[in-house]
Symmetry: C2
Subunit: 561 residues, 2 copies
């Protein structure tokens, strides 16, 4: 609207231009990399297919040791009719199309009780793969913001009459003043950026391409009948007002996230060429990061970074082990008292779970072997209908799971509104905390990886909590003597023999390392939104009641409000 | 309605009682296996958990050689309020709940262009797992039939006024006379039974439990407020007329399929006990069939069966190799003629694909290495938007895929209306025919397995075709001399080197075995609903045109009608 925009900080949404700022294009329109490469088309094709196969080849059939195969996820977003389809079509012609996955889901509303990105994790590329993703989490976000913004703009001038009745509506139907949807957009963008950084750190790199055309070109192309209504965003592209709002939204997006490549779709063929060059460059970067040896011998700044990391690793300070992890001191309870208390608590828990108003629940159980996770879970689910929950028994990842970020196998097991009609309670018997427990101790994760994981896990749980998922985490604490007693009992009891494996004895030898790791984990991931509950479990019966008590307490705080 | 029902053959639906036949319960109510086992509850629990762990232990971490781990899928269907939830809850308490998966999807309408079972294949248990599945394909089928039947009964007495306009409605909205929905039901039941037999033959056994209560008990329980509306079938269980229709449908189902265990839900606790016993028995049967050694040394009837199978295997008669697989004789085409023809045919193909009225399309490409599958696919997809199709490059299965029936990894890649919004064309570069090609030749499948596969594959494709999916299959035929030429060219051309692997040279040594296997495959799986098209590919350009020509021909027949 005015020259002021040019100096607007990303955090000042109210000053953003309603028109897609020419200035942002000028500032940010990525120079056509053709000039860097000065490649002809044949050379580009050869380079593309070479990079594609080389990237694939970094993926070994056995778990990777010498290199870190990296996947490439190409996000394609932007204005309608800006040449996205043409560009991806050309890419698919120039590479081996059989090795290029193209996914498209379009403008679905973010689901009520899960983070925007969650639904899309199923589609992430395996390490070594390249995938083009139309209609990704940004399409969902834009769709949602457009719904908010267009309803908002309709009511802009009217005074809000019925502010009370609004509160009852879901987030999607709310009519929001501009400042509010802008705040929502900015907050979501921050979260997505954090998710994307964690993806990149875990061998899934992103290339984000934003295709742009001006309103006049768009309207011409729409008239041409080139547009296939199936591919439209469910946004009315014929309305100038709607497009202006879209550009306003896009401006905020592009100002806040500086990792978008802006591609000018004015000439679809040029746009396609630029897109192919960008993908080539991204594949080459992914190749470099796939190869640990290359990393080590690469330029100085890389060496510096590594020195810095080494320093950071050296600086990791284990916490002092708290008493409750060593001196397990819990009272026994009389059997008939236990039964009464159990029945009462189970009834109360079931009542609370059913009053949770659609929210998802994630239970996370960690603890030493034989600490009673199985028994506690059994009592927890007893009052529930078997269709209401899923239990995931987590052990070593399978090969296809190792070909994704370590959190991937948990992302894809979360309650999912799109596919689970009833079961919205997920119970994990062992969890993503394996990263900072067994993977740390056995060396399956590097120092850098497991030390970084505390923050990654905190961000993951924060996102769940922000979306309305209730995360309940338990550490079941047992002492070494009691564990031995239980191992021996398992050996002697026919229907418990199966529970005892060689791994259990092996882990027992590393007892003190596990206690230290648990202490570090509890100190670093006990958050307000996903607090840990440590349960002393030398006395099984009391422990089971304590597990129920804590769930009741945490749910009461949420479900009664 | 009359005594006549008692002698009704399964194929005479018109005579089936409108009330759930008491007689069918008397005939078929499975004797409570408690009497066989005379086990107390503790013994049953121990037996259950023992069987559960033993079954899981049959699953090895490396591809199975000595045993054939078997999965168990427990289907739970029947009348509402008949104790299904109680029974599964008890089972889950008595086994290790962490190893028992419970899935529930409820009464979705079968999707328009895919077989009823397809959507559910994603949920099938891995070999060695036990899974309870509420709301399985029978729930979908019953829901659909109930919609047909209840609309039908409303219009029973009215003469059909507008028979023409009906044809335009989708299958779900059709108002059908009783005979018609019964015919639909019976036909679907036959298909599902065939699918289930193929599952069982491929290490996924089924236990089908039908829970029943009479109308009076149902109505009492509905009044009790025990019923959770979330779990109802989207059927109005309060209407006596609706329940009568449901019983009528159930009678047809149970008469036609004699592998249902009918469980009387009059006493929910007894029903739960019986259910647990049935699951135990099924797990034990699965254990027996998991162990090849046991099979070999088991009773006489088993030995006889094996002798019979051996005879059958011995009787497999390879067909004479047809000329078109050996003498590859195709004309070359001038380059500019080729370009013109290509453009024209691609345009025609795109036009036909877009006129297919929502149907799914499956392209299957098979052929010797270097026969030009990749090139043909490239030309095939050239006119399409990259979001309209998926290409699947099939190679050796991963471990988790081997833990399912061999068709599973293809079932789960078919176009899926529930999850793919746009991409409804699936192109397979190598296919399920690997079972009768590489797996036959390399011994990855036993003689019995690959010989049985012809029928299994035919049934699979028949189901797809019946649901409206168009299946287009190509064998690209090349001769041995031309293959060598192409291998050598690949070695010399930088951007083609990646295409040549050691496997290719190894396969070349088995040339004649591949030709024989191809001949047998073409002879046994060239069906009316999914015909093979053999393309001579010594001349690449002409071959690519031929591929397009055939697709155009097959689509014209369907899409213009």
């Amino acid at each position: 609207m005015s020259k002021n925009n040019n100096t607007t900080a990303p955090n000042a949404p109210q000053a953003v231009s309603a028109q897609f700022s020419e200035q942002i294009v000028d500032e940010r329109l990525t120079p056509n990399p053709l000039s860097h490469f000065s490649m002809d088309k044949d050379a580009l094709r050869l380079a593309l297919v070479t990079a594609q196969y080389a990237l694939r080849a970094t993926r070994q059939q056995t778990p990777p040791t010498l290199n870190k195969p990296t996947g490439l996820l190409v996000l394609v977003n932007g204005m309608e009719q800006a040449g996205k389809g043409t560009a991806v079509k050309q890419l698919r012609q120039w590479v081996d199309p059989r090795l290029l996955k193209v996914e498209a889901t379009i403008g679905d509303c973010p689901l009520a009780y899960q983070p925007i990105w969650q639904l899309h994790t199923k589609a992430l590329p395996r390490h070594g793969d390249v995938m083009v993703y139309f209609g990704n989490w940004y399409a969902d976000l834009l769709y949602n913001v457009m719904r908010m913004a267009t309803s908002a703009s309709k009511d802009d001038n009217k005074p809000s009459k019925n502010s009370k009745s609004k509160d009852k509506k879901s987030v999607n139907d709310k009519v929001l003043p501009i400042a509010q949807w802008q705040a929502y957009l900015q907050q979501q963008l921050l979260k997505l950026q954090a998710v994307e950084q964690d993806l990149a750190a875990n061998q899934t790199r992103l290339l984000k391409c934003w295709f742009h055309v001006d309103i006049e070109t768009l309207q011409e192309r729409l008239k041409d009948g080139e547009a296939d209504p199936q591919f439209l965003y469910q946004i009315d592209w014929n309305s100038k007002k709607v497009i202006e709002t879209f550009n306003e939204v896009a401006t905020i997006l592009l100002r806040q996230q500086d990792d978008w490549i802006i591609i000018d779709g004015d000439d679809k063929s040029d746009a396609a060429d630029q897109f192919c060059h960008e993908v080539l460059q991204a594949m080459q970067t992914a190749l470099v990061s796939s190869n640990i040896n290359t990393e080590k011998t690469s330029d100085k700044s890389e060496t510096k970074k590594q020195a810095k990391q080494a320093l950071k690793s050296a600086k990791f300070e284990p916490v002092k082990i708290p008493k409750f992890l060593i001196d397990i001191d819990d009272a026994d309870i009389d059997k008939s008292d236990y039964r009464d208390a159990l029945a009462e608590k189970q009834a109360r828990l079931a009542q609370l779970l059913r009053a949770r108003k659609g929210r998802h629940i994630v239970f996370a159980f960690e603890g030493m072997d034989a600490a009673g996770k199985g028994g506690a879970i059994k009592r927890l689910v007893a009052p529930l209908d078997p269709r209401e929950y899923q239990i995931y028994n987590i052990s070593a990842p399978m090969l296809y799971e190792l070909q994704h970020p370590y959190l991937w196998r948990f992302w894809t097991k979360l309650p999912n509104e799109q596919t689970d009609r009833i079961s919205r309670i997920a119970i994990f018997d062992r969890t993503w905390y394996g990263r900072v427990l067994v993977e740390r101790i056995e060396g399956f994760a590097t120092d850098d990886e497991w030390q970084r994981a505390y923050d990654e896990i905190n961000r993951f749980e924060a996102d769940l909590a922000a979306a309305g998922t209730i995360v309940i985490k338990y550490w079941l604490a047992i002492d070494k003597k009691e564990q031995l007693k239980r191992f021996e009992a398992r050996q002697e009891t026919p229907h418990k023999q199966f529970k005892l494996t060689d791994d259990d004895w092996r882990n027992r030898k590393k007892w003190s390392e596990y206690v230290q790791s648990a202490a570090d984990m509890l100190a670093r991931t006990d958050t307000e939104y996903a607090p840990w509950c440590v349960i002393a479990t030398n006395e099984k019966r009391q422990a089971r009641l304590d597990v129920l008590d804590h769930a009741i307490k945490q749910l009461s705080a949420v479900c009664s409000s």
